[in-house]
Amino acid sequence: MTMAEKVLARTSGRDSVAPGEYVTCRVDRVMCHEAFTLCGLQLASLGVQELFDPDRVIVILDHYFPTPTEQMARGHVIARDLVERFKIRHFLGHAGICHQVLTEQGHIKPGDLVLGTDSHSTTYGAVGAAGAGIGLTEMTYVLATGELWLQVPPTLRFELEGNPGPGLMSKDVVLHLAGEFGTEVAQYRAIEYAGPVAERMSIASRMTMANMGVELGAKFALFEADAVTERYLEGRCPDAPPRFGPDADARYEAVHRIAITGLEPQVACPHNPGNVKPISKLGEVRVNQAFLGSCTNARLEDLEVAAEILRGRQVHPRTRLLVTPASHRVYLEATRAGYTETLLEAGAHITASGCGACPGGHSGLVGPGEVCISSTNRNFRGRMGSPEAEVYLGSPATVAAAAVAGRLVDPREFWKGTTLS
C-alpha cells in the first residue's frame, strides 16, 4: 500500500484498502483554528457535552491575530470559553500559524491521520502524516464523533531527481510542478514526494511542498518519514515512530520523474498558482509590496535566506517588505540568529506571527493597481485585498530579491546558495 492507503487502512480498522473505497476513519489529531468558534457553538446547540477525545483536539487562533476588529476579538472570546467548556488541553493560543506550530511542537506523528479546518492541512505530510482540510460542518461531526467518511485516493508519486542549481528553494520545485502539471493533477488524489532531492530536503523545505500539495489538488501530500524526520522530531515528539513510508509493492496511479537540474527560480503570475513562468521569462514587473509570510514559507530557513540577500542592502524605496514569521518560536529563533536585525536594518517591517495578509485578513492587504510578490500559496484575484491588485508567488529568495530591486529579478543576482543540497 501507499502511505495514504496505509493510514486509511489503519484508521478504518482494515487490513488493506484500495483506491475508490469509502471508509470511515478514526482521526488521530484534529486541528481547529478560528473555525472552532462556529463548530463549538454548533456542538453546544446540539447539546453535545463532551468531544470525542479532547486530548486529540488542538485549537490555535492564528487567522485573526493580533485581532484586527472588535468582531474578531469577540470570536476569540467565545473560542476561549468553548476551549474551557470542552476541556481542551492543547489550546496553543497565538503561538503562530497552525501548521507550523503543530509541527514544530511535535503534535503530529508520522503515519497520523490529521483533519484540520484549513485547506493547507496537507502540510503535515512533511513529517509523513496524512493531513487534509475539511469545512465547518464536517469538523463539527468529527469533534463530536472522532470519525469521518473518506474515499481512498489513488496516489501520484513525484520522484525529484538531479542537482539543484544556485538560487533554488523547494518553493521553486512545487511551483514548477503546478506549472508543468496544472493545479488539478492531484485532484481527488494523494501525492508522495520522493527521490534524492526530496530525501535531502529539510523539514522546512518539505513543509512548503506538502503545503502546496493542495494547490495541485491533493487530498494528502506526503514525504516518507526518514532519518531527517527522525532528527527533527527528536525532543519534539517522543512517541513518534522512527520511520513511515510506502510498502515496497505499493501501486501508484502514476510515477513522474522530475529533473531538477537546470531548473531556474519559478514565479506564479496572476491570478492562479498554476500560471507559472521561469523568472527569466517575466519581463519588467515593478513591485509595491514584497510579502514574506504564511504557512508556506516563513520558517527559519526562509528568513535566513532573506537575511542573506538583504544583508548590507536596502529595501527599494518604491517597495515595502513585510515579514510575518510563521510562528512566535521562528520569530525568536530568527532574532537569536541575528536575522531579524538584518531584516530591520534593510528596512523590512516585521509583524507578529500569524496568517496575516495571506488570506486577505489583515496586516498587509494590497490596493487597486498594486503589485505584490508573495511567498504564500495562492494568488487568486482579490485574495490578498483588491481584486484589481496583482499577486505573484515566489520563493523567499525571490521575494527578498524583489524587495531590494523594487521589481521582480532573478534572486541569483544576490544569492548563489540553495536550500536543496
Partner: protein, 173 residues
Amino acid sequence: MERLIRGRVWKFGHNVDTDVMAPWNTISEPWETRRKTGLHIRPECVERVQPGDLVVAGRNWGCSSSREHAPENLKLLGIGAVVAESFGRIYFRNSIAIAFPNLACPGIHEGCEEGDELEIDVRTGQIQNLTRKMSFQAQPFTPEILSILEKGGLLNVLRERLGVAAPDSTGSP
C-alpha cells in the same frame, strides 16, 4: 432534497476559486452582507439569480480554501445545483455536508450555454439539456453520499446519531 432538479443555467469558466465565491473579509458577515459580496466575479448573477437556477462550470470549480461559505453562499442564493467538469475536493465535500447537490459531469461545459434549461436526476446522475435536447451522464453519487444528501446534510446525520431532533428537513443553518 428533491430527486429531480430543473432550472436555468448560469455558466462559469474553469478554476473558479472559493476566494471569489466567499471573499475572506466577508465570511464572518451576516448573510445580507455576504449576499452582495459573494460570487463577485459575476455581480449581475447575484442580482438576477432566481431560486432554483443552476450553475454549470468548467474544471476545478471551488478550488482553494476549506471555507464552507463558498457552497453555502451559492445554496443561500437559491442555486439548486452545480454541475461542473470537476471540483476542488474540499469544496465538493463541503457541498455534500450541507446537502447542496454538486455533480461532476464530463462534457457539460461544452454542451451547455447560459440560459439553457437542465433537468438533473440527483439519484442517477442523468442530466438532460432540455433546451438543446442533449443528455449527459454525471458521475452518480455513491449510496454513502446520497444518504447524507437525502438526510439533509451531515449535521442531520449527527443529530440522528446523537438522538437530537432535526429542526427542519433541509439541513440549512
